[in-house]
Structure formats: structure tokens, C-alpha cells
């Protein structure tokens, strides 16, 4: 049974058909590269999975059950986490504070509760070790490299025990050396059985790590095939429209 299944999902904004009859399924531990030109419908699709938008037509199923979400918080409750392109980090806070932002561990009785710094440092440290990142929980995010910042944003998804992680252009703004670090972080997630949707413009990343590539063009799914059966040239053709549909 697939983890998440989209069945003929469409999203219309007035006369504009941002998405048309897109079906997609995600298996546990699978990395799917989602590609497409600007305006192809990638972000609309991601926002539907993330609970920002409701589809105009079609349905979502999570582990065989219908999924109807009205707010992003509900997606989180179902185990769907997003790593935003800007990472959504507070530079003035420590790595641990960012990891636990909005889900702080507290101790105390009744209304008298204080932040449990020790527990959060310990827990964050364990997650960074698990991700094989050298990020230190007490460091300020302001002082971190691009790769470490990614690790902090990805560590957040581990707090929630996410089943699906949507990553929006994780390698767009960082150096070549740090791209390798980020791809390693993604592998660590995948090895824990998490399904990952990788939205990216970078062909080498998708072909380096994804199991499957999905291409959107003008709101339609034009390809959904195993990486091994495709090639960067074919995908480029599909994105631009030089190739109408994947063979």
C-alpha cells in the first residue's frame, strides 16, 4: 500500500488550471524528484500535499485512508513535513532552539512550566549524530554554513517523526561541497523509511539521489518513471516540451 496517493488531483484558480488530473503515489523510503519549469505546477502540488491548498477535484489518500486537510498544521499531524527553500530558521537562536521551534520541550507542573534546555540540547545532539552532521546544538544558526543550516531544518522533521518530507530546492543556494552534505542528509532520512519529495532544478542532484523522477509541464504530469530508465537529456526535453510525453 502506498504511503501517500494523489488521485486525479486538479487545482483551478478561476480560469487558470494550475494542476490538471495529476496522480502520484509515494512509497516509504522512496526519493521522488519533482521537476518542472517555473509555473509548471510544482509549488501548487507541494502546497496541496502540505495542506495549504485544497484540490478543486480529486482526492488524497494517506495509507489507504482519505485525507482532507484545511490547514498546514493538519498535514504536520499526519506526518507530512516541509523543508522550506529559505529553511525558515531564526538566525538569532541556537540550532537546538530552531529544531524545537514551536514544539519546545518543557518541564514543570501545571501552568508553571519552563523550557527544558538540557533535554532539547540532548535530543537535538542525538538527531544531528543520527544525520551524521557535525552541527552542534548550542551554536547560533547565524554562525553556520549552508550545509549545517540544512541539517538544522532537516532535524526539525525528525522531531515530528515525519513519514513524508517535502524538500523545496534544498541545494539551490549553497556551495558545491555542501550539496554533497545535503544529499547525504537526504539519504539518512531515506534509510529510515521516510518518503522524500525533492523539488529541484538541479539535474545532477535528482539523478544522484532520486529513485523516480516526476516531471510537470503546464499543470500536467508528463513523466513518472524510474531514474534508471531515464536520462538528463530526456528530462530536459520533457521540461521544455521538446518531448511531449515520456515513453
Amino acid at each position: 500500500m502506498p504511503l501517500l496517493e494523489l488521485k486525479n488531483v486538479s487545482k483551478h484558480f478561476g480560469a487558470i488550471h494550475a494542476l490538471n488530473e495529476v496522480s502520484l503515489s509515494l512509497e516509504p523510503g522512496e526519493v521522488v524528484g519533482l521537476m518542472g519549469d517555473n509555473g509548471a505546477g510544482k509549488s501548487t502540488l507541494v502546497k496541496i500535499i502540505a495542506g495549504n491548498f485544497r484540490p478543486t477535484h480529486g482526492a488524497l489518500q494517506m495509507e489507504g485512508r482519505d485525507l482532507s486537510m484545511h490547514r498546514p498544521v493538519e498535514a504536520r499531524q499526519h506526518g507530512i513535513e516541509i523543508v522550506h527553500q529559505d529553511l525558515a530558521l531564526c538566525d538569532n537562536l541556537t540550532a537546538a532552539a530552531n529544531v524545537f521551534l514551536g514544539r519546545e520541550i518543557q518541564k514543570g507542573i501545571g501552568p508553571f512550566r519552563v523550557l527544558d534546555y538540557a533535554a532539547m540540547y540532548r535530543h537535538a545532539g542525538r538527531i544531528f549524530a543520527e544525520l551524521r552532521s557535525e552541527t552542534r546544538p548550542r551554536d547560533l544558526v547565524r554562525q553556520m554554513s549552508g550545509g549545517q543550516r540544512q541539517a538544522v531544518a532537516i532535524a526539525r522533521t525528525r522531531i515530528a517523526d515525519a513519514k513524508i518530507v517535502l524538500m523545496d530546492e534544498p541545494t539551490a543556494a549553497i556551495s558545491v561541497r555542501q550539496v554533497a552534505q545535503v544529499l547525504n542528509l537526504i539519504r539518512q532520512l531515506r534509510d529510515r523509511g521516510i518518503a522524500i519529495v525533492l523539488i529541484s532544478h538541479r539535474m545532477p542532484d535528482v539523478f544522484g539521489i532520486a529513485d523516480r523522477v516526476v516531471v510537470l509541464r503546464r499543470g500536467r504530469k508528463v513523466a513518472d518513471k524510474s531514474i534508471a530508465a531515464s536520462s538528463p537529456e530526456e528530462v530536459t526535453g520533457l521540461i521544455t516540451g521538446a518531448i511531449e510525453y515520456a515513453s
Binding site: 529559505d86 531564526c90 538569532n92 519546545e104
Partner: protein, 332 residues
């Protein structure tokens, strides 16, 4: 890279020293200590217990509001209405007590007014997304006008049956001869520091100032937190108003005029960053203390009080410039 490496070594060898020198409040504290030592030698009158008592009490009113202002500034906001809110709260207290009600009723009415004004500020800022500068500028005008309406623009100096209790509240000194306002200030500073560093609310205050968008997407209740922040700011002005009324023994409608700028100056000198995300309760006290020491010393040294603005203004600029220069030398 090399500078960073050196910095790293220094940090590892002298963690406390490096932590201290990275704090603006530490340098301002040094400046205050230096000024005090200098004044003790340069004048006969500074280091007298009487003068120290006065200096300590005088800056508490600004300091108490600076605590609330620091929280607002950490969220990246500003509250220009505090001077007028102080006046309105003092006036409500005075009018209610003058009408024959007890001090408890007077204080409840006064602080209730503060919370209501803060809530209005907060809702307009958080839910209608009007810039804090505009909302609180409007409230600056409204609150002072309401104070005039409440008192018919008269001076109130008789506070009914609990007159003496009120004067003791603001003017007394029941603990080791420390002025009451100083005790309130220290208690409130400890409370503010605790809330900022050990509660979830405090964490949210810093998160909103650091990256509001991140706070929203991680599920931080940004709007509710902002409303609370402006309520705290107005409440701090209300508390300062109650104490100041007790100390002065009279309320006029120009009480606290221009005070918002002194309060903001104190917070900024103490290390609060107007761009948001940075500030401490201790810094608010130290910044307020520095302004008062400057004011006091000019008087004692026989320099015209007209120079006060020049000195305070210079300190604001120097404090912020100092921060820039330090960051420039050690990029992180």
C-alpha cells in the same frame, strides 16, 4: 577564516571572558562604573548616600518601562505610546482614588486601563497588520488626550482615604533604606529575564524578531504572542505610572511627555537591536542607569542641563556604532 579560527581558540580558552565582551550591556556597565568612580573623585556630592538613593530611584521609572520596551523591540516592533499610557494610567489612578475609592480599586483600574490599551495596540498590529510605529504613534496622541479628558486637564494631588498608602508605595523605603521603586524595578527585571529565557513565550518573542516567517511556518502563535507583548509594554508603563504617582504625590497631564524616547534610548544603549531578535532585561536597566548617571553628573559637575541631550544622544550612537565596529573586526 584565520580570524574565525583565532576567535574560536579564544572562545575555547576564555569562554566567560569572550561571552562578556560580546555583550553590549557589559561595555555599558563598564561605562557606568567608570563614570561613577570618576564622579566620586571629581565631586564631593556624588558618592553620598542621599545622592545614590536619588539616582537609583530616578532611573527606575524609565527602567521599568524599558523592560517592557525591550520585549517589544526583541519582536522587531516599537511602542511609542508608553509615555502617554503612563500619564493616562497615573491619571486614572488619581481620579479614581480622589473620588474616594481604595488604593486597590485605583491600581486595578489603572493597570486594567494599561492592559486594555496594550490589547488594542496589539490587535491592530498583529491582526490588522498595521505597522507598530503608526499604531502606537496614534495611541500616543489618544492616551494623552484621554488623560486630559479624565482630569479635565487639572492637577490631581489629593488621593482620598488611601492617600498615605499611595505615597508610601512610591516614596517609601521599607527594606534596608532602598527606595521602594528600586525594589519593584529589580523584581520586575528578574521576572522579565526569567520569562525571556526560561519560558516558551520568551522563546517565541526572540523567534518572531529573528524571522517572523519562520515563526509562522513552525506553528508559533505569532499573533497572540504579539498582542501579549504590547499588553506587557503598556502594563509596564502603567506600573511605572502608579509608582511615579506615589513618588510625586501629584499628577499633571504632561507627566511622561517625551518619555518614550528616553525609554527607547535606554533599551538601545542596553543592547536591544531595533531590527529585532536581540535584547536583555539587564541591558534595559543598565541603559536606563547610564542615562540617569549622565543627567545627574552634569548637574553635579556644574554643566548646564541643556547639554544632557547631547550626551545621551552621543551615547546612543556610540553604543550602536561600537557594536558595528566589533562585528566588523571579528566577522562570524
Amino acid at each position: 577564516m584565520e580570524i574565525q579560527f583565532d576567535d574560536e581558540i579564544k572562545r575555547a580558552r576564555f569562554p566567560i571572558l569572550s561571552w562578556l565582551t560580546s555583550r553590549q550591556a557589559f561595555w555599558v556597565l563598564l561605562a557606568v562604573c567608570f563614570a561613577c568612580i570618576f564622579l566620586s573623585f571629581a565631586t564631593n556630592s556624588f558618592a553620598t548616600s542621599n545622592n545614590i538613593f536619588n539616582v537609583a530611584r530616578n532611573f527606575t521609572f524609565v527602567a521599568v518601562i524599558a523592560l517592557g520596551m525591550t520585549i517589544v523591540i526583541i519582536t522587531g516592533g516599537i511602542d511609542l505610546s508608553v509615555g502617554s499610557v503612563l500619564c493616562l494610567c497615573s491619571m486614572i489612578l488619581a481620579v479614581v482614588m480622589h473620588a474616594g475609592y481604595s488604593i486597590e480599586v485605583g491600581i486595578a483600574a489603572s493597570l486594567g486601563t494599561a492592559l486594555l490599551i496594550g490589547a488594542i495596540n496589539g490587535v491592530l498590529i498583529a491582526y490588522l497588520e498595521i505597522p507598530p510605529f503608526v499604531v502606537t504613534l496614534g495611541m500616543l496622541s489618544i492616551a494623552r488626550s484621554l488623560a486630559m479628558v479624565a482630569s479635565n486637564n487639572t492637577v490631581v494631588f489629593q488621593f482620598g482615604p488611601d492617600h498615605d498608602k499611595l505615597l508610601f508605595l512610591g516614596g517609601g523605603a521599607w527594606l534596608f533604606g532602598i527606595a521602594n521603586p528600586v525594589i519593584y524595578m529589580l523584581a520586575l527585571a528578574l521576572l522579565t529575564g526569567f520569562v525571556l529565557h526560561f519560558t516558551r513565550f520568551g522563546r517565541y518573542v526572540f523567534a518572531i524578531g529573528g524571522n517572523e516567517h519562520a515563526a509562522i511556518v513552525t506553528g508559533v502563535p505569532v499573533r497572540r504572542t504579539k498582542v501579549a507583548v504590547y499588553m506587557i509594554s503598556a502594563l509596564s508603563a502603567g506600573i511605572a505610572g502608579v509608582i511615579e504617582t506615589g513618588w510625586l504625590g501629584a499628577v499633571t497631564t504632561n507627566l511622561g511627555a517625551g518619555m518614550e524616547l528616553q525609554v527607547i534610548a535606554a533599551a538601545v544603549i542596553g543592547g536591544a537591536n531595533l531590527a529585532g531578535g536581540i535584547g536583555t532585561a539587564f541591558g534595559a536597566l543598565i541603559g536606563s542607569a547610564l542615562i540617569e548617571v549622565i543627567r545627574n553628573s552634569l548637574g553635579l559637575l556644574g554643566i548646564s542641563a541643556f547639554w544632557q541631550g547631547t550626551f545621551v544622544g552621543t551615547f546612543i550612537i556610540v553604543a550602536v556604532a561600537f557594536d558595528r565596529i566589533r562585528n566588523f573586526r571579528f566577522p562570524t
